[in-house]
Symmetry: none
Subunit: 200 residues, 4 copies
DNA sequence: CATGAATGAGGGTTCATTCAT
DNA sequence: GATGAATGAACCCTCATTCAT
């Protein structure tokens, strides 16, 4: 039904503008010119809306195994995509831990997805090594780069907000630049060349 | 007065255990065997309690200029201290953006403090370069390391939580290890030696 | 909706019996066998109820220009009507200044309405002169009579209460008698005759 | 004790500025730099303060029998004095009926005093007749003038406020002018002359 | 006399949720 | 599917009042 979609869109807008607690179900319904009863007919409660929004966001970040970025360029493209998606649902990472603490189901799901995400990041990095973009002279480098990447994807938007930066989608480019900064010492000449082409 | 301290301690405990929204002023008062009226006699509202807890935390992280870490060892010591303090007030970074969105005064204060913090991080890194621990072969490295450090200090605890790690103070050592991982390619032999001694 | 009306009626009853402060929104709801939530669903707060009651009262006192009393008899009829309306909403003038001090919007509205009321009183008195009921031998008589009328309409009920009179609708006849007492020296024979017929 | 007086003065100031409900005992104490406990040591509660302020005001309006105004000039002087006193305690008539509804003791006292006041007004008016200032051609004139006077003394300040007039002590002169307006048709030449001299 | 921490009932209000229509 | 009135528990907070010091 279109109504279900409209509710998600309206809630997302309010969540992004303020915070999830300020946007009560009645507010959301009112903003959509809809009765509170109808909203609850479609979604049991606000948590259900948030969970659904998370699923939507999550669905847009998933990759088929064969789509896994296997080059610097592809990684950049993927992270740009990710930044765009996370920006669209920016309320989510903004309140991440708060939301998880209020909904055990969401928490379990998120942790599962996040661990899987981390696993994929390691695979992608290993692929970059295999493809001659990266060179890891000692242990734990891949682990470190994976942590950096995960931290950046999860918290870059909150990070920018805590610096008081005027925040818009454009600034999210920094998310990739940060990851690139961490990879740089380990880039092969091929990797450096690829990076230079992206920046150009 | 002792009561003011007791309220802060009781609120901190509840905030860390659950979340700030779940710990209503009445809950806090009840947990302390105190009347709601008395709690409000000492603190205007929950925001005032949170603000005060932030100030306490902040006060414990501040450094006199002459105390600024000027060696890898000192940096490690300082970050351990920081991790300890942030662990004590872990609710704060857990809900960071949510809390800032609910209290404009806290937000302004936090951003100001955070920018100052970033400035100090850059100074410390520059000091490490001057003292022969670090060597920066190209531009932006210091910027990158500062971002890494700031991200880690602010979000390492949330980061661990999103991985489902059983969380305790001990695990916070990872915060420094992450920063160290970022610095490693830029360490001089002197820097590497210092690091090896810390790890031993 | 009927509920909105019921709330106004219930609130009016309690306000008239005691005072507006004693009749809390919860009291009103309880007296109507209604949940507090429902009362606030219909009226934002007590001020909104009071404002609405004022508007109701005010609406019942307004006159179309062509209905303006142009004879002593018509004036009497109008003042009887006024006394009846003000009696119905007697809490309002009882707490008049208190209520105005608590609600700036109501205050602005009341003053505007009151000045308009005064203007109409002057017009009515001038009409009585034109129609040969009144004769004004020197200046300021109309002004004086207008003040008297306004004072009487606003404060006659409070005035009676401060004399400890057992108060009921019947006693409000005094409101017109007071105004008539002020007009008497200026009545023409025609005016006196009209008055005599009213009293008979 | 000086403290008792200071409390009355502080309360009076706050009452006049806003309204009695807004000025809580804690506010009054705070405004005086005094502890709430101390305030309650001197006055059981806010009602006691209000009652005491009423007594003060009342005491300043009372006349020894031999001081009773027996001329237009003396009446004018007395009403100017009254206006000054009522202005000083203007919160009282502003909230008159509200205050009476909250304190049965005050109510009983006020009604008693008010009836006595009315009695004295009638005596004064009768004295003016005896002394050749006034002439009453028909019955009830004295009653009417007494009502007018009482209404004016009690409600002139509230009356001015409901017209939105900028209110200060100076404007209270209108209180006497209103009474004079009512007496005018009944003044003898001697009375008119006295009045003319006052106005000059 | 004076302090000020402490009480606790109750204030207005919010809001997720239900349910008859 | 949709409405919107209704519920009621809970929220934050106020304030007259008490009382140990």
């Amino acid at each position: 039904m279109g109504t279900k979609k409209k509710i998600l869109a309206g809630a997302l807008k309010l969540f992004n503008e303020g915070n999830t607690q300020a946007a009560t179900t009645n507010h959301i319904a009112a903003a959509l010119g809809m009765s509170p009863g109808n909203l609850h007919y479609h979604y049991k409660n606000r948590e259900a809306i948030i969970l659904r929004l998370y699923e939507e966001m999550q669905a847009q970040t998933e990759l088929e195994p064969q789509e896994r970025p296997d080059s610097i360029e592809a990684l950049h493209a993927h992270m740009s995509h990710l930044a765009h998606v996370y920006w669209t649902y920016r309320f989510f990472h903004r309140e991440l831990l708060f939301l998880l603490s209020r909904d055990p189901e969401l928490k379990a799901r998120y942790i599962r997805d996040n661990l899987a995400h981390r696993g994929r990041i390691v695979l992608v990095l290993a692929g970059l090594v295999d493809n001659g973009y990266l060179q890891v002279p000692y242990d734990n480098v891949l682990e470190h780069l994976a942590d950096t990447t995960l931290l950046a994807t999860q918290f870059w938007i909150p990070f920018l907000e805590t610096l008081g930066d005027p925040l818009d989608e454009y600034h999210l480019e920094g998310m990739f630049q940060h990851v690139q900064g961490a990879m740089r010492p380990y880039l092969t000449p091929k990797g450096l060349k690829a990076l230079a082409e992206i920046s150009a």
